[in-house]
């Protein structure tokens, strides 16, 4: 049996989404910017897909949703756009973000710092979230943007977006959120939450890879990252990947309907909890960031005495795909900053394994995974020098 539990990395394309995309590769292939009927033939479905994007996040018709290549591009467009518009051309020079953002935000902020921009990285608490009041405390007269993620990719912890949006609105500061891990898992409403910019990526909610979107509220400026043609209203040049855009729209429709969100919160959450609870029955395991206020599909678990990559190796032998922020599994050998940001226990940084489910996982798969995980923990703890210090009756309980 193959079990894919790494859906925060990417998801499979929903077969229904693929069906909508398919005609646009070989049959309806015209350039949407062409005047002739081949190009114009793409328009109705593109409009339909765009409407689903607007509906999915409750954007107003006057707002812009720009189709990009991914959330990384969307994030870069906002941050660098603000830099050009408000920092280079204005007198503001400060951005607020958090320590646990995706590298698409933190690496861009580091680049902006190298260009003289001042960036405040707000720390998270023991549960891996930040207090909205912190944002208020750090707002300065020269703050040009607040950028805080909607949900964390490692822990699934949901941030107080509504409160932060309100604070930014009162302070008159643009608020951007990277909602990549929130779409299709929790309700995302840009109007209710006073969001001015929002990034998303289709492949995180069963759409295709290589396509994302950037929401820009009416009245908020955006300097394009890509200059060229007049596509996307001049906000993003380049011929639109029609099939992918349509795939994203339909994936959004499927993922954000009330039924889909209810399914995510019932069926997926139930499977996640079953998996999580079974692992937590094993001594010296814990959910990093705690169990409350998370996306329903994600659990990041620390297994004392078991290094993350070695756990992934054992699971891979059983064709189970999961993820770790462990340093040893990465190219640069630096532990995942999200794991480090908790700060409560440095040993956790190397023992975390992330399981992220989707609506395509079955109970049978979870039962299979639980068995494999228990066996892997048993084997690796028997080898583990650090676990050798703990009483052996713990191991025998497995």
């Amino acid at each position: 049996m193959e079990v894919y539990l790494d859906n925060n990395a990417t998801t499979m394309v929903d077969p229904e989404v693929f069906k909508e995309m398919e005609p646009f590769f070989c049959h309806i292939y015209g350039n949407p910017n062409s005047l002739h009927k081949f190009g114009a033939g793409t328009h109705p479905k593109m409009v339909e897909a765009l409407n689903y994007l607007y509906d999915g996040i409750n954007a107003a018709d006057e707002d812009d949703i720009i189709v990009t290549a991914n959330a990384t591009e969307s994030n870069n467009t906002v941050l660098k756009g603000i830099w050009i518009d408000k920092i280079l051309n204005g007198n503001k020079n400060h951005i607020i973000t958090s320590e646990v953002e995706h590298p698409a935000i933190t690496a861009t902020c580091k680049f902006l710092e190298s260009q003289g921009v001042s960036v405040t990285y707000l720390p998270v608490n023991e549960e891996g979230v930040l207090d909205a009041a912190q944002v208020k405390d750090y707002i300065r007269e020269d703050t040009a943007l607040v950028s805080i993620m909607w949900a964390n990719n490692e822990t699934g912890k949901i941030f107080p977006i509504k409160e932060i949006g309100q604070i930014c609105k009162e302070a008159g500061i643009p608020f951007h959120t990277d909602a990549t891990q929130a779409i299709g898992k929790v309700p995302v409403d840009v109007q209710e939450c006073n969001v001015n910019y929002l990034s998303l990526s289709a492949h995180k909610f069963h759409g295709p890879k290589g396509v994302g979107a950037l929401y820009v509220q009416k009245g908020y400026t955006l300097t394009p990252l890509l200059h060229g043609g007049e596509q996307m209203g001049g906000h993003r040049a380049g011929t639109v990947d029609v099939a992918s855009m349509i795939g994203m729209g339909f994936a959004m429709k499927l993922a954000t309907s009330k039924i889909a969100l209810a399914y995510e919160n019932n069926h997926v959450r139930k499977l996640r909890d079953k998996l999580e609870n079974a692992i937590l029955e094993i001594p010296e395991t814990l959910v990093i960031g705690g169990k409350e206020n998370r996306t329903p599909n994600t659990t990041l678990i620390s297994i004392r005495g078991v290094e993350g990559e070695s756990m992934l190796w054992d699971l891979n032998q059983k064709t189970i795909g999961a993820s770790t922020g462990s340093a040893c599994a990465s190219e640069d050998l630096e532990a995942n900053p999200v794991m480090n940001a908790f700060g409560s226990d440095s040993e956790l940084a190397h023992t975390g394994v992330r399981f992220s489910l989707s609506r395509f996982n079955t109970e049978e798969e979870i039962d299979y995974a639980i068995e494999a995980i228990k066996n892997a923990i048993h084997r690796l703890r028997a080898i583990s020098s650090s676990y050798a210090y703990t009483p052996k009756d713990h191991v025998s309980e497995l």
Partner: protein, 326 residues
């Protein structure tokens, strides 16, 4: 960056079959108890190295025959990634049958080579080399426990890059001999910093006592100091040659020659000249000058006068001198 680096594969693809086999079924995983050691007729030694918070920790058990110092059995326990487990397994195996003194000479390179499937293909990707380093360190720890000495006493040289076993002395020597100017050049010449990269600069996987950036800077400073001292000593002894001189010495000497042999003639015609810069454009020394007074704008400034100045300097200082008016 090149074609092969644009789409990288999984680091697991670079593990040798030996690594995979030992990750899945480490042969020497386990512990040696006091009873077991007694049964074997040896002394039990237990050594720990690393820490869970650092991502790697290993415990090594030895049963050592106190009459011969021979390691009768060796086992390990390891917290770490798969390559740390495999390295520890190979390390434990390499220890068996050796004396403690022989075991201390096992390096991380030996451990990594023992994990290779074929002699020329590394067993692990570069960033995983540090896992075998830990195996090397725990041997020293066990030997120091057995002998009752300090762990550092086994290290004859100060090792800067543990992955590639490059010492401080080697680095300093290679930088000096090859006149290396960048860390990339140091890595190319020595392999130091090519693997886990922790020794290049602060902020890597492990905190180091010394980093390549500092060693390069300090060695370059030493080289400059040595060069100046040689130049000063040679000058004092009247043995200085133009190519060994410092820039200041060169300017002073050129000015002296100009004052003696050139300027009086120029001044007779109401002119003069000054040195603007000297650039090494090997094999040439390009001396940039500017004419002053009546000499500026004089037609022979680019012909006869220039030839005369250059000839004098060539004759008295170095054949490779070129004089360039600006």
């Amino acid at each position: 960056m090149a074609k092969n680096d644009l789409i990288t594969g999984s680091i697991w693809d670079e593990y040798s079959n030996q690594v995979i086999r030992r990750m899945d079924n480490p042969t020497y995983q386990g512990e040696i108890t006091e009873e077991k050691a007694k049964e074997l007729g040896g002394k039990l030694i237990v050594a720990d190295f690393g820490a869970e918070s650092c991502g790697d920790a290993v415990r090594l058990y030895w049963c050592v025959d106190e009459n011969t110092d021979k390691i009768l059995d060796s086992r390990f326990k390891s917290f770490g990634c798969g390559t740390a487990i495999a390295s520890s397994d190979a390390m434990a195996e390499l220890c068996i049958g050796k004396t403690v003194d022989e075991a201390v000479r096992i390096t991380n390179i030996d451990v990594e080579k023992a994990l290779r499937d074929t002699p020329d293909v590394p067993a692990v990707p570069p960033q995983k080399m540090h896992c075998s380093v830990m195996a090397y360190d725990v041997i020293k720890k066990a030997a120091s426990t057995y002998k009752g000495v300090d762990m550092e006493s086994f290290e004859e040289e100060f090792i800067v890059c543990e992955c590639a076993r490059v010492s401080l002395a080697t680095l300093q020597e290679v930088i000096k001999i090859n006149d290396l100017k960048t860390v990339e050049e140091v890595t190319d010449y020595t392999k130091a910093g090519a693997f886990c990269k922790s020794c290049i600069k602060p902020g890597g996987h492990e905190e180091k006592e010394m980093y390549l950036v500092d060693i390069l800077e300090n060695t370059r400073k030493e080289m400059d100091h040595d060069k100046m001292k040689v130049a000063a000593d040679a000058s004092a002894a009247g043995e200085s040659s133009f190519d060994k001189m410092t820039i200041v010495q060169r300017i002073k000497l050129i000015d002296e020659i100009l004052d003696t042999d050139i300027r009086p003639m120029l001044m007779m015609d109401g002119g003069n000249m000054e040195i603007i810069d000297i650039k090494e454009n090997m094999p040439h020394y390009d001396i940039y000058i500017r004419y002053l007074g009546a000499c500026s704008g004089c037609a022979s400034g680019d012909t006869g006068t220039l030839y005369a100045i250059e000839s004098v300097l060539k004759q008295k200082l170095d054949e490779n001198i070129r004089v360039l008016p600006i």
